[in-house]
Protein backbone atom coordinates (compact mmCIF):
# COMPACT_ATOMS: atom_id res chain seq x y z
CA UNK A 1 0.00 0.00 0.00
CA UNK A 2 1.40 3.37 -0.96
CA UNK A 3 0.22 6.50 0.73
CA UNK A 4 1.60 9.88 -0.20
CA UNK A 5 1.95 12.02 2.88
CA UNK A 6 2.24 15.76 2.88
CA UNK A 7 4.98 17.04 5.17
CA UNK A 8 2.54 18.03 7.90
CA UNK A 9 3.65 18.24 11.48
CA UNK A 10 1.75 16.20 14.07
CA UNK A 11 1.02 19.56 15.71
CA UNK A 12 -1.78 20.21 13.23
CA UNK A 13 -3.38 16.85 14.06
CA UNK A 14 -3.20 17.66 17.78
CA UNK A 15 -4.53 21.14 17.11
CA UNK A 16 -7.50 19.65 15.28
CA UNK A 17 -8.05 17.23 18.17
CA UNK A 18 -8.04 20.06 20.74
CA UNK A 19 -10.41 22.21 18.67
CA UNK A 20 -12.81 19.32 18.35
CA UNK A 21 -12.73 18.60 22.06
CA UNK A 22 -13.36 22.26 22.89
CA UNK A 23 -16.21 22.62 20.43
CA UNK A 24 -17.90 19.41 21.50
CA UNK A 25 -18.12 19.78 25.25
CA UNK A 26 -21.74 18.69 25.25
CA UNK A 27 -21.15 15.56 23.20
CA UNK A 28 -20.66 12.44 25.27
CA UNK A 29 -18.81 10.54 22.57
CA UNK A 30 -16.37 13.36 21.88
CA UNK A 31 -15.53 13.63 25.59
CA UNK A 32 -14.80 9.93 25.68
CA UNK A 33 -11.94 10.38 23.25
CA UNK A 34 -9.06 10.92 25.61
CA UNK A 35 -5.68 12.39 24.63
CA UNK A 36 -4.20 8.94 25.35
CA UNK A 37 -6.55 7.30 22.86
CA UNK A 38 -5.71 9.92 20.27
CA UNK A 39 -2.01 9.45 20.92
CA UNK A 40 -2.37 5.69 20.43
CA UNK A 41 -4.17 6.26 17.14
CA UNK A 42 -1.33 8.45 15.90
CA UNK A 43 1.20 5.86 17.01
CA UNK A 44 -0.73 3.17 15.17
CA UNK A 45 -0.68 5.25 12.00
CA UNK A 46 3.08 5.72 12.18
CA UNK A 47 5.68 5.31 14.94
CA UNK A 48 7.26 8.61 13.89
CA UNK A 49 5.09 11.39 15.45
CA UNK A 50 5.89 13.83 12.63
CA UNK A 51 4.80 11.42 9.89
CA UNK A 52 1.82 10.21 11.96
CA UNK A 53 0.36 13.75 12.00
CA UNK A 54 0.48 13.89 8.23
CA UNK A 55 -1.05 10.44 7.90
CA UNK A 56 -3.85 11.40 10.26
CA UNK A 57 -4.68 14.49 8.18
CA UNK A 58 -4.54 12.45 4.98
CA UNK A 59 -6.83 9.76 6.39
CA UNK A 60 -9.28 12.42 7.59
CA UNK A 61 -9.34 14.01 4.13
CA UNK A 62 -10.00 10.63 2.55
CA UNK A 63 -12.80 9.86 5.00
CA UNK A 64 -14.42 13.23 4.29
CA UNK A 65 -14.33 12.39 0.59
CA UNK A 66 -15.78 8.93 1.29
CA UNK A 67 -18.79 10.47 3.04
CA UNK A 68 -19.11 13.19 0.44
CA UNK A 69 -19.11 10.67 -2.40
CA UNK A 70 -21.74 8.66 -0.57
CA UNK A 71 -23.86 11.82 -0.57
CA UNK A 72 -23.66 12.72 3.15
CA UNK A 73 -24.66 16.22 4.13
CA UNK A 74 -22.07 16.53 6.92
CA UNK A 75 -18.98 14.61 5.77
CA UNK A 76 -16.60 16.41 8.14
CA UNK A 77 -18.59 15.45 11.23
CA UNK A 78 -18.92 11.86 10.10
CA UNK A 79 -15.20 11.61 9.36
CA UNK A 80 -14.43 12.87 12.88
CA UNK A 81 -16.92 10.43 14.38
CA UNK A 82 -15.21 7.60 12.46
CA UNK A 83 -11.79 8.66 13.72
CA UNK A 84 -13.13 8.86 17.29
CA UNK A 85 -14.43 5.33 17.11
CA UNK A 86 -11.21 4.13 15.53
CA UNK A 87 -9.17 5.73 18.34
CA UNK A 88 -11.40 4.22 21.01
CA UNK A 89 -11.12 0.75 19.48
CA UNK A 90 -7.33 1.03 19.50
CA UNK A 91 -7.38 2.43 23.06
CA UNK A 92 -9.54 -0.45 24.24
CA UNK A 93 -6.92 -2.82 22.88
CA UNK A 94 -9.03 -4.30 20.12
CA UNK A 95 -7.13 -6.70 17.92
CA UNK A 96 -6.67 -5.16 14.50
CA UNK A 97 -6.65 -7.92 11.93
CA UNK A 98 -6.12 -5.77 8.86
CA UNK A 99 -4.41 -2.41 8.79
CA UNK A 100 -5.72 0.75 10.44
CA UNK A 101 -6.81 2.28 7.14
CA UNK A 102 -8.93 -0.74 6.24
CA UNK A 103 -10.42 -0.71 9.74
CA UNK A 104 -11.27 2.97 9.43
CA UNK A 105 -13.10 2.26 6.16
CA UNK A 106 -15.12 -0.48 7.86
CA UNK A 107 -16.06 1.90 10.68
CA UNK A 108 -16.90 4.64 8.17
CA UNK A 109 -19.34 2.33 6.39
CA UNK A 110 -20.99 1.54 9.70
CA UNK A 111 -21.24 5.23 10.63
CA UNK A 112 -22.75 5.93 7.22
CA UNK A 113 -25.40 3.21 7.62
CA UNK A 114 -26.29 4.68 11.00
CA UNK A 115 -26.87 8.10 9.49
CA UNK A 116 -29.33 6.62 6.99
CA UNK A 117 -31.56 5.65 9.89
CA UNK A 118 -31.46 9.11 11.43
CA UNK A 119 -34.75 10.99 10.91
CA UNK A 120 -32.91 14.14 9.79
CA UNK A 121 -31.40 12.23 6.93
CA UNK A 122 -34.51 11.43 4.94
CA UNK A 123 -33.69 12.05 1.35
CA UNK A 124 -35.01 11.10 -2.03
CA UNK A 125 -34.22 11.55 -5.67
CA UNK A 126 -34.66 14.93 -7.32
CA UNK A 127 -37.14 13.56 -9.84
CA UNK A 128 -39.36 12.40 -7.03
CA UNK A 129 -39.17 15.77 -5.34
CA UNK A 130 -40.08 17.53 -8.55
CA UNK A 131 -43.76 17.75 -7.65
CA UNK A 132 -43.12 19.38 -4.30
CA UNK A 133 -39.95 21.40 -4.86
CA UNK A 134 -38.52 23.17 -7.86
CA UNK A 135 -34.75 22.86 -8.49
CA UNK A 136 -32.77 25.70 -6.90
CA UNK A 137 -32.91 28.79 -9.01
CA UNK A 138 -29.58 30.03 -10.34
CA UNK A 139 -29.29 33.68 -9.52
CA UNK A 140 -26.84 35.94 -11.25
CA UNK A 141 -25.88 37.78 -8.07
CA UNK A 142 -24.92 34.45 -6.46
CA UNK A 143 -22.62 33.71 -9.40
CA UNK A 144 -21.14 37.18 -9.15
CA UNK A 145 -20.39 36.76 -5.46
CA UNK A 146 -18.47 33.54 -6.14
CA UNK A 147 -16.53 35.23 -8.93
CA UNK A 148 -15.74 38.26 -6.75
CA UNK A 149 -14.54 35.99 -3.96
CA UNK A 150 -12.48 33.85 -6.34
CA UNK A 151 -10.73 36.95 -7.66
CA UNK A 152 -10.09 38.05 -4.09
CA UNK A 153 -8.68 34.65 -3.12
CA UNK A 154 -6.57 34.44 -6.28
CA UNK A 155 -4.78 37.58 -5.12
CA UNK A 156 -3.64 35.59 -2.10
CA UNK A 157 -1.85 32.85 -4.06
CA UNK A 158 1.60 33.14 -5.56
CA UNK A 159 1.93 34.31 -9.18
CA UNK A 160 3.24 30.88 -10.09
CA UNK A 161 0.22 29.07 -8.65
CA UNK A 162 -2.18 31.61 -10.08
CA UNK A 163 -0.68 31.01 -13.53
CA UNK A 164 -0.86 27.26 -12.96
CA UNK A 165 -4.58 27.42 -12.10
CA UNK A 166 -5.39 29.56 -15.15
CA UNK A 167 -3.48 27.32 -17.53
CA UNK A 168 -4.50 24.02 -15.95
CA UNK A 169 -8.22 24.70 -15.94
CA UNK A 170 -8.55 26.35 -19.34
CA UNK A 171 -10.73 24.81 -22.05
CA UNK A 172 -12.14 21.33 -21.61
CA UNK A 173 -12.07 17.92 -23.24
CA UNK A 174 -9.27 17.07 -25.65
CA UNK A 175 -7.92 20.62 -25.80
CA UNK A 176 -7.50 20.56 -22.04
CA UNK A 177 -5.60 17.26 -22.08
CA UNK A 178 -3.26 18.57 -24.78
CA UNK A 179 -2.69 21.85 -22.95
CA UNK A 180 -1.88 19.99 -19.76
CA UNK A 181 0.69 17.81 -21.50
CA UNK A 182 2.37 20.93 -22.84
CA UNK A 183 2.23 22.59 -19.43
CA UNK A 184 3.71 19.55 -17.68
CA UNK A 185 6.50 19.36 -20.26
CA UNK A 186 7.24 23.06 -19.81
CA UNK A 187 7.46 22.69 -16.02
CA UNK A 188 9.46 19.48 -16.40
CA UNK A 189 7.09 17.41 -14.23
CA UNK A 190 4.81 14.43 -14.81
CA UNK A 191 1.09 14.82 -15.49
CA UNK A 192 0.34 13.28 -12.08
CA UNK A 193 2.60 15.74 -10.31
CA UNK A 194 0.99 18.56 -12.26
CA UNK A 195 -2.46 17.37 -11.18
CA UNK A 196 -1.38 17.21 -7.51
CA UNK A 197 -0.05 20.77 -7.64
CA UNK A 198 -3.14 22.12 -9.37
CA UNK A 199 -5.44 20.16 -7.05
CA UNK A 200 -3.75 21.47 -3.90
CA UNK A 201 -4.11 25.04 -5.13
CA UNK A 202 -7.69 24.46 -6.26
CA UNK A 203 -8.66 22.98 -2.88
CA UNK A 204 -7.11 25.90 -1.03
CA UNK A 205 -8.89 28.35 -3.33
CA UNK A 206 -12.18 26.53 -2.89
CA UNK A 207 -11.85 26.70 0.90
CA UNK A 208 -10.96 30.37 0.73
CA UNK A 209 -13.82 31.19 -1.67
CA UNK A 210 -16.39 29.24 0.38
CA UNK A 211 -15.35 31.15 3.53
CA UNK A 212 -15.44 34.44 1.63
CA UNK A 213 -18.93 33.78 0.20
CA UNK A 214 -20.26 32.85 3.65
CA UNK A 215 -18.72 35.98 5.15
CA UNK A 216 -20.06 38.26 2.43
CA UNK A 217 -23.51 36.62 2.44
CA UNK A 218 -23.77 37.15 6.20
CA UNK A 219 -22.64 40.74 5.77
CA UNK A 220 -25.31 41.31 3.14
CA UNK A 221 -28.20 40.06 5.32
Amino acid sequence: MTRRIAPTSSKSAWHRYQTRMESAQSSRTERELTPEAFKKLLAKLDPNPETAGGKYEELRRQLIKFFEWRGSFYPDELADETLNRLARKIDEGEEIEKNVIALSLGIARFVFLETLKRPDNRRMEMEELATVAAPPERREEDDDLWVVCLRECLRGVSDENRELIIEYYQDEGRARIKDRKILAARLGISLNALFSRAKRTRDKLEECVTRCVKRKSKGAT
Binding site: E68, L113, E125, A134, R151, G173, S196, L205
Partner: protein
Protein backbone atom coordinates in the same frame (compact mmCIF):
# COMPACT_ATOMS: atom_id res chain seq x y z
CA UNK B 1 -7.53 1.23 -23.59
CA UNK B 2 -10.86 -0.57 -23.17
CA UNK B 3 -10.04 -1.31 -19.55
CA UNK B 4 -9.14 2.34 -18.98
CA UNK B 5 -12.46 3.45 -20.40
CA UNK B 6 -14.41 0.98 -18.29
CA UNK B 7 -12.48 2.21 -15.23
CA UNK B 8 -13.40 5.79 -16.06
CA UNK B 9 -17.00 4.75 -16.52
CA UNK B 10 -16.97 2.96 -13.17
CA UNK B 11 -15.55 6.02 -11.41
CA UNK B 12 -18.06 8.32 -13.05
CA UNK B 13 -20.93 6.05 -12.03
CA UNK B 14 -19.56 5.97 -8.48
CA UNK B 15 -19.43 9.74 -8.32
CA UNK B 16 -23.00 9.92 -9.59
CA UNK B 17 -24.09 7.33 -7.01
CA UNK B 18 -25.07 4.74 -9.61
CA UNK B 19 -22.94 1.75 -8.66
CA UNK B 20 -24.40 -1.38 -7.13
CA UNK B 21 -23.54 -1.95 -3.48
CA UNK B 22 -20.93 -4.58 -4.37
CA UNK B 23 -19.23 -2.40 -6.99
CA UNK B 24 -19.26 0.54 -4.60
CA UNK B 25 -17.60 -1.45 -1.83
CA UNK B 26 -14.96 -2.84 -4.20
CA UNK B 27 -14.04 0.61 -5.49
CA UNK B 28 -13.90 2.07 -1.98
CA UNK B 29 -11.62 -0.74 -0.85
CA UNK B 30 -9.41 0.03 -3.81
CA UNK B 31 -9.09 3.77 -3.31
CA UNK B 32 -8.52 3.43 0.43
CA UNK B 33 -5.56 1.17 -0.25
CA UNK B 34 -4.19 2.83 -3.38
CA UNK B 35 -3.41 6.54 -3.32
CA UNK B 36 -3.20 6.81 -7.10
CA UNK B 37 -6.73 5.46 -7.38
CA UNK B 38 -7.90 8.04 -4.87
CA UNK B 39 -6.20 10.80 -6.89
CA UNK B 40 -7.89 9.46 -10.01
CA UNK B 41 -11.28 9.78 -8.32
CA UNK B 42 -10.54 13.34 -7.15
CA UNK B 43 -9.44 14.26 -10.66
CA UNK B 44 -12.52 12.67 -12.24
CA UNK B 45 -14.75 14.56 -9.83
CA UNK B 46 -13.14 17.89 -10.67
CA UNK B 47 -13.46 17.13 -14.39
CA UNK B 48 -17.13 16.31 -13.94
CA UNK B 49 -17.72 19.55 -12.03
CA UNK B 50 -15.82 21.60 -14.61
CA UNK B 51 -17.63 20.03 -17.55
CA UNK B 52 -20.96 20.75 -15.88
CA UNK B 53 -19.87 24.31 -15.14
CA UNK B 54 -18.95 24.79 -18.81
CA UNK B 55 -22.24 23.19 -19.94
CA UNK B 56 -20.21 20.51 -21.69
CA UNK B 57 -22.05 17.46 -20.32
CA UNK B 58 -24.50 15.55 -22.45
CA UNK B 59 -28.17 16.00 -21.65
CA UNK B 60 -28.35 12.63 -19.90
CA UNK B 61 -25.18 13.20 -17.90
CA UNK B 62 -26.34 16.65 -16.90
CA UNK B 63 -29.56 15.25 -15.51
CA UNK B 64 -27.73 12.52 -13.63
CA UNK B 65 -25.25 15.05 -12.29
CA UNK B 66 -27.97 17.44 -11.12
CA UNK B 67 -29.79 14.60 -9.40
CA UNK B 68 -26.76 13.57 -7.39
CA UNK B 69 -25.01 16.93 -6.92
CA UNK B 70 -27.62 19.64 -6.67
CA UNK B 71 -29.50 17.88 -3.88
CA UNK B 72 -26.55 18.21 -1.52
CA UNK B 73 -25.66 21.69 -0.17
CA UNK B 74 -21.97 20.93 0.11
CA UNK B 75 -21.82 19.62 -3.47
CA UNK B 76 -23.88 22.58 -4.65
CA UNK B 77 -21.18 24.85 -3.27
CA UNK B 78 -18.60 22.90 -5.26
CA UNK B 79 -20.64 23.49 -8.42
CA UNK B 80 -20.77 27.23 -7.69
CA UNK B 81 -17.01 27.25 -7.25
CA UNK B 82 -16.47 25.36 -10.52
CA UNK B 83 -18.66 27.87 -12.36
CA UNK B 84 -16.73 30.79 -10.90
CA UNK B 85 -13.43 29.11 -11.77
CA UNK B 86 -14.47 28.54 -15.40
CA UNK B 87 -15.60 32.15 -15.74
CA UNK B 88 -12.49 33.66 -14.16
CA UNK B 89 -10.15 31.42 -16.17
CA UNK B 90 -11.90 32.35 -19.44
CA UNK B 91 -11.88 36.05 -18.61
CA UNK B 92 -8.22 35.98 -17.60
CA UNK B 93 -7.24 34.28 -20.84
CA UNK B 94 -9.39 36.59 -22.96
CA UNK B 95 -7.89 39.69 -21.34
CA UNK B 96 -4.32 38.63 -21.97
CA UNK B 97 -2.34 40.18 -24.80
CA UNK B 98 -1.22 37.42 -27.16
CA UNK B 99 2.41 36.34 -27.03
CA UNK B 100 4.42 38.63 -29.33
CA UNK B 101 5.07 36.86 -32.60
CA UNK B 102 5.58 37.50 -36.29
CA UNK B 103 4.28 35.32 -39.07
CA UNK B 104 7.33 33.11 -39.02
CA UNK B 105 8.45 33.98 -35.55
CA UNK B 106 11.75 35.34 -36.82
CA UNK B 107 13.24 38.81 -36.32
CA UNK B 108 12.97 41.23 -39.21
CA UNK B 109 16.43 41.97 -40.57
CA UNK B 110 16.99 45.67 -41.03
CA UNK B 111 19.61 47.14 -43.45
CA UNK B 112 22.70 48.56 -41.89
CA UNK B 113 22.16 52.33 -41.98
CA UNK B 114 24.11 55.40 -40.89
CA UNK B 115 27.66 56.60 -41.24
CA UNK B 116 29.28 53.28 -41.87
CA UNK B 117 27.19 52.85 -45.03
CA UNK B 118 28.12 56.39 -46.33
CA UNK B 119 31.78 55.88 -45.62
CA UNK B 120 31.61 52.54 -47.35
CA UNK B 121 30.15 54.30 -50.44
CA UNK B 122 32.91 56.93 -50.37
CA UNK B 123 35.49 54.23 -50.74
CA UNK B 124 33.97 52.97 -54.06
CA UNK B 125 35.87 53.74 -57.42
CA UNK B 126 34.67 56.70 -59.64
CA UNK B 127 33.99 57.06 -63.53
CA UNK B 128 31.09 56.65 -66.10
CA UNK B 129 30.96 52.94 -65.53
CA UNK B 130 30.89 53.63 -61.87
CA UNK B 131 27.95 56.10 -62.33
CA UNK B 132 25.94 53.44 -64.12
CA UNK B 133 26.72 50.91 -61.44
CA UNK B 134 25.89 53.45 -58.76
CA UNK B 135 22.53 54.22 -60.39
CA UNK B 136 21.74 50.52 -60.64
CA UNK B 137 22.85 50.00 -57.06
CA UNK B 138 20.71 52.94 -55.94
CA UNK B 139 17.64 51.54 -57.75
CA UNK B 140 18.26 48.11 -56.26
CA UNK B 141 18.97 49.66 -52.85
CA UNK B 142 15.86 51.82 -52.90
CA UNK B 143 13.78 48.92 -54.18
CA UNK B 144 15.23 46.71 -51.43
CA UNK B 145 14.56 49.34 -48.80
CA UNK B 146 10.98 49.74 -50.01
CA UNK B 147 10.62 45.95 -49.98
CA UNK B 148 11.93 45.71 -46.41
CA UNK B 149 9.67 48.54 -45.23
CA UNK B 150 6.63 47.03 -46.95
CA UNK B 151 7.37 43.59 -45.54
CA UNK B 152 7.76 45.06 -42.10
CA UNK B 153 4.47 46.95 -42.45
CA UNK B 154 2.67 43.82 -43.63
CA UNK B 155 4.11 41.79 -40.78
CA UNK B 156 2.98 44.41 -38.28
CA UNK B 157 -0.52 44.27 -39.75
CA UNK B 158 -0.47 40.49 -39.65
CA UNK B 159 0.59 40.53 -36.00
CA UNK B 160 -2.20 42.98 -35.25
CA UNK B 161 -4.71 40.79 -37.08
CA UNK B 162 -3.52 37.76 -35.11
CA UNK B 163 -3.93 39.66 -31.85
CA UNK B 164 -7.39 40.75 -32.89
CA UNK B 165 -8.24 37.15 -33.85
CA UNK B 166 -7.07 35.93 -30.46
CA UNK B 167 -9.22 38.48 -28.65
CA UNK B 168 -12.19 37.56 -30.84
CA UNK B 169 -11.62 33.88 -30.08
CA UNK B 170 -11.61 34.60 -26.34
CA UNK B 171 -14.80 36.64 -26.67
CA UNK B 172 -16.40 33.94 -28.81
CA UNK B 173 -15.50 31.30 -26.21
CA UNK B 174 -17.06 33.31 -23.40
CA UNK B 175 -20.13 34.03 -25.51
CA UNK B 176 -20.45 30.37 -26.52
CA UNK B 177 -20.35 29.39 -22.86
CA UNK B 178 -22.95 31.99 -21.99
CA UNK B 179 -25.17 30.85 -24.86
CA UNK B 180 -24.82 27.21 -23.76
CA UNK B 181 -25.68 28.25 -20.21
CA UNK B 182 -28.73 30.14 -21.37
CA UNK B 183 -29.80 27.26 -23.56
CA UNK B 184 -29.51 24.82 -20.66
CA UNK B 185 -31.48 27.21 -18.48
CA UNK B 186 -34.09 27.61 -21.21
CA UNK B 187 -34.42 23.84 -21.56
CA UNK B 188 -34.89 23.46 -17.83
CA UNK B 189 -37.49 26.22 -17.73
CA UNK B 190 -39.32 24.73 -20.73
CA UNK B 191 -39.43 21.34 -19.02
CA UNK B 192 -40.61 22.95 -15.82
CA UNK B 193 -43.31 24.88 -17.72
CA UNK B 194 -44.53 21.72 -19.43
CA UNK B 195 -44.68 19.90 -16.14
CA UNK B 196 -46.59 22.70 -14.46
CA UNK B 197 -48.97 22.97 -17.40
CA UNK B 198 -49.66 19.27 -17.18
CA UNK B 199 -50.31 19.57 -13.46
CA UNK B 200 -52.58 22.55 -14.00
CA UNK B 201 -54.50 20.70 -16.67
CA UNK B 202 -54.92 17.71 -14.38
CA UNK B 203 -56.16 19.92 -11.53
CA UNK B 204 -58.60 21.69 -13.87
CA UNK B 205 -59.96 18.41 -15.15
CA UNK B 206 -60.42 17.06 -11.67
CA UNK B 207 -62.12 20.27 -10.52
CA UNK B 208 -64.52 20.23 -13.46
CA UNK B 209 -68.01 18.83 -12.55
CA UNK B 210 -68.09 16.93 -15.81
CA UNK B 211 -64.80 15.24 -14.99
CA UNK B 212 -64.68 11.55 -15.66
CA UNK B 213 -61.40 9.70 -15.46
CA UNK B 214 -60.39 8.86 -18.99
CA UNK B 215 -57.36 6.83 -18.08
CA UNK B 216 -58.23 3.14 -17.90
CA UNK B 217 -56.49 2.82 -14.54
CA UNK B 218 -57.76 2.50 -11.02
CA UNK B 219 -56.16 3.54 -7.76
CA UNK B 220 -55.87 1.08 -4.90
CA UNK B 221 -54.37 2.16 -1.59
CA UNK B 222 -52.92 -0.07 1.08
CA UNK B 223 -51.26 0.83 4.36
CA UNK B 224 -48.17 -0.95 5.60
CA UNK B 225 -50.15 -2.57 8.42
CA UNK B 226 -51.90 -4.70 5.79
CA UNK B 227 -48.56 -6.37 5.14
CA UNK B 228 -47.39 -6.71 8.71
CA UNK B 229 -50.39 -8.62 10.06
CA UNK B 230 -51.32 -11.11 7.37
CA UNK B 231 -53.18 -13.53 9.63
CA UNK B 232 -55.17 -11.00 11.62
CA UNK B 233 -56.80 -9.08 8.79
CA UNK B 234 -59.50 -9.64 6.24
CA UNK B 235 -58.30 -9.77 2.62
CA UNK B 236 -58.54 -6.38 0.94
CA UNK B 237 -61.17 -6.21 -1.81
CA UNK B 238 -60.19 -4.85 -5.19
CA UNK B 239 -62.81 -4.36 -7.86
CA UNK B 240 -61.39 -4.10 -11.36
CA UNK B 241 -63.96 -2.57 -13.73
CA UNK B 242 -64.24 -3.68 -17.32
CA UNK B 243 -61.78 -1.84 -19.53
CA UNK B 244 -59.35 -1.02 -16.71
CA UNK B 245 -55.83 -1.66 -17.94
CA UNK B 246 -53.77 -0.95 -14.88
CA UNK B 247 -54.02 -0.83 -11.13
CA UNK B 248 -52.12 1.99 -9.52
CA UNK B 249 -51.21 0.56 -6.16
CA UNK B 250 -50.45 3.15 -3.54
CA UNK B 251 -48.65 2.01 -0.39
CA UNK B 252 -48.84 4.39 2.55
CA UNK B 253 -45.77 4.33 4.74
CA UNK B 254 -45.98 6.19 8.05
CA UNK B 255 -42.18 6.21 8.30
CA UNK B 256 -39.35 6.37 5.84
CA UNK B 257 -37.65 3.19 6.98
CA UNK B 258 -35.91 2.19 3.78
CA UNK B 259 -34.45 4.19 0.90
CA UNK B 260 -36.10 1.76 -1.54
CA UNK B 261 -38.87 -0.82 -1.71
CA UNK B 262 -39.92 -3.74 -3.90
CA UNK B 263 -43.38 -5.10 -4.56
CA UNK B 264 -44.11 -8.59 -5.91
CA UNK B 265 -47.52 -9.87 -6.99
CA UNK B 266 -47.95 -13.60 -6.46
CA UNK B 267 -50.68 -16.13 -6.95
CA UNK B 268 -51.85 -17.97 -3.84
CA UNK B 269 -49.66 -20.94 -4.82
CA UNK B 270 -46.58 -18.67 -4.89
CA UNK B 271 -46.22 -18.08 -8.62
CA UNK B 272 -44.70 -14.66 -9.34
CA UNK B 273 -46.92 -12.63 -11.67
CA UNK B 274 -45.29 -9.24 -11.46
CA UNK B 275 -42.37 -7.60 -9.66
CA UNK B 276 -41.17 -4.01 -9.40
CA UNK B 277 -37.93 -3.20 -7.63
CA UNK B 278 -36.14 0.02 -6.69
CA UNK B 279 -39.27 1.96 -5.76
CA UNK B 280 -38.37 5.22 -4.04
CA UNK B 281 -40.72 6.64 -1.40
CA UNK B 282 -42.27 10.06 -2.00
CA UNK B 283 -43.06 12.53 0.75
CA UNK B 284 -46.77 13.01 1.34
CA UNK B 285 -48.74 14.97 3.91
CA UNK B 286 -49.42 11.80 5.86
CA UNK B 287 -45.85 10.52 5.77
CA UNK B 288 -44.43 8.70 2.79
CA UNK B 289 -45.85 6.75 -0.06
CA UNK B 290 -44.86 4.47 -2.90
CA UNK B 291 -46.88 4.17 -6.10
CA UNK B 292 -46.55 1.20 -8.41
CA UNK B 293 -48.52 0.54 -11.58
CA UNK B 294 -49.47 -3.09 -12.12
CA UNK B 295 -51.18 -4.26 -15.33
CA UNK B 296 -54.75 -5.27 -14.42
CA UNK B 297 -54.41 -8.54 -16.32
CA UNK B 298 -51.68 -9.68 -13.91
CA UNK B 299 -54.24 -9.99 -11.13
CA UNK B 300 -56.05 -13.30 -10.90
CA UNK B 301 -59.74 -13.25 -10.06
CA UNK B 302 -60.06 -14.19 -6.42
CA UNK B 303 -57.16 -14.12 -3.95
CA UNK B 304 -53.80 -12.58 -4.88
CA UNK B 305 -50.76 -12.07 -2.68
CA UNK B 306 -48.76 -8.84 -2.59
CA UNK B 307 -45.32 -9.11 -1.01
CA UNK B 308 -43.58 -5.95 0.18
CA UNK B 309 -39.86 -5.72 0.99
CA UNK B 310 -37.57 -2.85 1.95
CA UNK B 311 -34.18 -2.31 0.32
CA UNK B 312 -31.47 -0.87 2.57
CA UNK B 313 -28.83 1.62 1.46
CA UNK B 314 -26.40 -1.28 1.13
CA UNK B 315 -28.79 -3.04 -1.25
CA UNK B 316 -29.96 -5.68 1.21
CA UNK B 317 -33.56 -6.81 0.82
CA UNK B 318 -35.61 -7.14 3.99
CA UNK B 319 -39.09 -8.65 3.85
CA UNK B 320 -41.75 -6.45 5.42
CA UNK B 321 -44.72 -8.73 4.89
CA UNK B 322 -47.51 -9.93 2.65
CA UNK B 323 -51.09 -8.85 2.06
CA UNK B 324 -53.96 -10.73 0.46
CA UNK B 325 -56.02 -8.88 -2.12
CA UNK B 326 -59.33 -10.35 -3.24
CA UNK B 327 -59.99 -9.32 -6.83
CA UNK B 328 -63.42 -9.12 -8.37
CA UNK B 329 -63.98 -8.12 -11.98
CA UNK B 330 -67.14 -6.54 -13.32
Amino acid sequence: MERLQSQEGLIRRYLLGELSAAEQIALEDEYFSDQSKYDQLCQAEDELLDRYARAALSEADRERFERSYLTNPRRRRRVMFARALAQVVDEELAARPPAPQTAGGEQIERPDTGLSWVSHLARLPRGPHFALNLAAALIIGLGGAWFVIETSRLRARLAEALREGETQRGRAQTQARQVADLEAQYRRLAEERERLQAQLQAVKEKASPSYRPTSPSILFALSISAFRDLGGQEPRALIIPRGAEEVRLRLNLPEHEFPGYQVILLTTDGREMFARKGLRPQATRAGYGVIVSIPARKFASGDNVLALSGISGAGEVETIGKAIVKVRRR
